[in-house]
């Protein structure tokens, strides 16, 4: 192996700075959320306490945090399930050329590049003009899918590009039905990527703001509630909320990563 040149150390420092840039602000608000009861939005820390976390769980002056969190988690779960099922199915379809496959792929990519405000405004108007009530489980659900599904499909296309069809052919030669060969051959091979899609679906929905803004109706999701708080709350309770939701996101991400890693390890053990 070649010795490391100066370039490596310069780039390492650059990368370290980038990581600091990504995580630094989040770490700051986590620290500041433990501010004492008389502390403000910036340093110095005025003692340390759990005061602002306790305030989160008291009835709020504005909004309904508990309800918003519940709705957001439910919606994220729905988006996750639908994203996984629909992207895997469409991924299977795209392994063959079929009539309209080009158009459907173009539409999916278009869904990724249409500015979010158009989806929000369009879905909102569609519901109000056709006399339907906008709600988080109907209009916001659909609007969020236009963002999560393209990611899911692109992951599946990448997976099936590298997929060795001979496994499936072997299963079919052994007499497996299409469902059996999917369930026992294809699914185990693509499972880590499927968990990746689930993670995308969940987090994209859980954090989605622009596509939900005009489509959620009268019951806010958590990001909408947080956005409302930014304009009229000027205490560290905002940071406490940030710490809690970021912690929740990290928990979901960690669960997905650990599952993916253990699946990979099990596969390697079996192969050995």
């Amino acid at each position: 192996m070649k010795p490391r040149g100066a370039g490596f150390y310069v780039l390492s420092a650059f990368f370290a700075l980038f990581v600091l840039f990504l995580y630094g602000p989040t770490v700051t608000i986590v620290v500041l959320s433990f501010q004492g009861p008389n502390g403000g939005l910036t340093f110095p820390m005025n003692g340390s306490s759990l005061h602002w976390f306790a305030r989160l769980f008291e009835p709020q002056a504005v909004g309904d945090l508990g309800g918003a969190l519940q709705r957001s988690l439910m919606l994220a779960f729905m988006v996750m399930v639908v994203t996984v099922v629909v992207s895997v199915a469409a991924g299977l379809a795209f392994r063959r050329r079929f009539r309209g496959s080009g158009a459907l792929l173009a539409l999916t990519i278009a869904s990724l590049i249409v500015p979010s405000i158009l989806v929000s405004l369009g879905v909102g108007l569609l519901f109000s003009q056709s006399g339907l009530e906008s709600d988080w489980w109907s209009s916001a659900f659909g609007a969020q899918l236009t963002w999560s599904l393209p990611f899911g499909l692109l992951v599946m296309l990448a997976v099936f590009n590298r997929f060795d069809r001979s496994w499936e052919e072997a299963a079919r030669d052994l007499g497996a039905s299409p469902w059996q060969s999917f369930r026992h051959v294809v699914l185990p091979i693509i499972l880590p990527s499927v968990i990746g899609i689930a993670l995308f679906g969940f987090t994209l929905s859980y954090d989605e703001f622009p596509r939900t803004l005009l489509t959620a109706g009268s019951n806010n999701t958590l990001p909408l509630e947080i956005y409302g708080m930014t304009t009229n709350i000027t205490t560290p309770v905002l940071y406490a909320l940030g710490t809690v939701t970021t912690g929740l996101s990290f928990l979901v991400i960690a669960t997905a990563l650990v599952t993916m890693a253990s699946l990979n390890r099990r596969r390697q053990r079996r192969a050995a």
Binding site: I29, I117, G175
Partner: protein
């Protein structure tokens, strides 16, 4: 990989398939892709195509202060296109887009280059890649708010600068300014540049770089003459993401500028809150056209089909 179905079930399946007339399997096989693709097509039809059609229709309708009126008019377009405020707003939004693009391209290229060519173990590569990815799976709004203790009048940056004597009064331009808007855009969206560039870099045949070195190229020449041209499709995809994310944004500009700066998305969202839906729709159609033109321009310069 093992098939865990009991042997008898597999045998049953085998006999079933054996006895089935071969002619019956074909139509089922050719129908399958349509059934599998239908849910995706339906969802995108209902929640993307139809809503955009609604926007286009409403953009030609008249309105008063309470409701949309079913009269065909051009005025929503002429009002916005002949207003100099619209042009200034577009100019400001394009300015954000170009600056954010340049910064994210610079950061994205070097971060991807470091991960792809300087990290030698695959495990380490994965770990560092995840370290870059994880923040992008957390709430954008919280990540914007988290700049407040840094940039505020009494924030970390100002107090640090005051302490080392570089400034004597707190800098006012840090928060609620163009600076804060661009900083937040870069913070939120750099990953969309890193991932596509990293992808193309991982596919570059390492022998090309060795050949360049053998032919006497210095390391900066390898980067400039070999890696950069081969990364173009990744750069194009990253650019498309940045263009649509920044051009259509309204929330970052509103939060980080404290409502003191304009963007196209913000203009549209203001019209929506005034219930001027047809005007908002006309602006949305114009925005979509501009974004599509920009993307068309990028695709004309760089062929990305190999990446899809």
């Amino acid at each position: 990989m093992s098939i865990t179905a009991p042997a008898s079930a597999t045998a049953d399946a085998a006999t079933r398939i054996d006895h089935r007339p071969t002619g019956r399997r074909k139509p089922a096989g050719s129908l399958a892709p349509y059934l599998q693709a239908t849910p995706l097509a339906l969802i995108l039809f209902a929640f993307l195509l139809v809503p955009i059609a609604v926007i286009v229709v409403v953009s030609f309708l008249d309105y008063n202060s309470v409701q949309i009126l079913p009269n065909f008019v051009w005025s929503n377009y002429t009002d916005t296109l002949f207003d100099h405020v619209t042009w200034e707003t577009y100019l400001n939004t394009v300015k954000y887009t170009v600056i954010v693009w340049a910064i994210t391209l610079f950061i994205g290229f070097w971060v991807a280059y470091f991960l792809a060519f300087h990290i030698r173990s695959t495990v380490m590569q994965m770990v560092l890649f995840l370290v870059c990815t994880i923040p992008f799976l957390t709430s954008n709004i919280i990540r914007m708010i988290s700049w407040v203790p840094f940039l505020g009048r009494n924030g970390l940056l100002n107090s640090a600068l005051l302490r080392i004597g570089l400034i004597h009064h707190p800098l006012e331009f840090l928060l609620f300014s163009d600076f804060a808007v661009i900083l937040a855009f870069v913070h939120l969206n750099t990953l969309f540049m890193v991932v596509p560039i990293f992808n193309t870099m991982m596919r570059i045949d390492r022998r090309l770089m060795e050949a360049a070195v053998d032919a006497g190229a210095k390391s900066w020449q390898v980067i400039l003459e070999v890696i950069l041209p081969l990364c173009k499709p990744g750069i194009a995809i990253g650019t498309i993401f940045i263009v649509t994310l920044v051009m259509g944004d309204f929330i970052t500009v509103r939060l980080m500028s404290g409502g003191q700066r304009a963007s196209v998305g913000l203009m549209i969202s203001n019209q929506i809150s005034l219930l001027q839906y047809p005007a908002a729709c006309a602006n949305a159609v114009v925005l979509l056209a501009v974004v599509l033109l920009m993307i068309g321009g990028i695709l004309r310069l760089i062929d990305i089909r190999a990446e899809l």
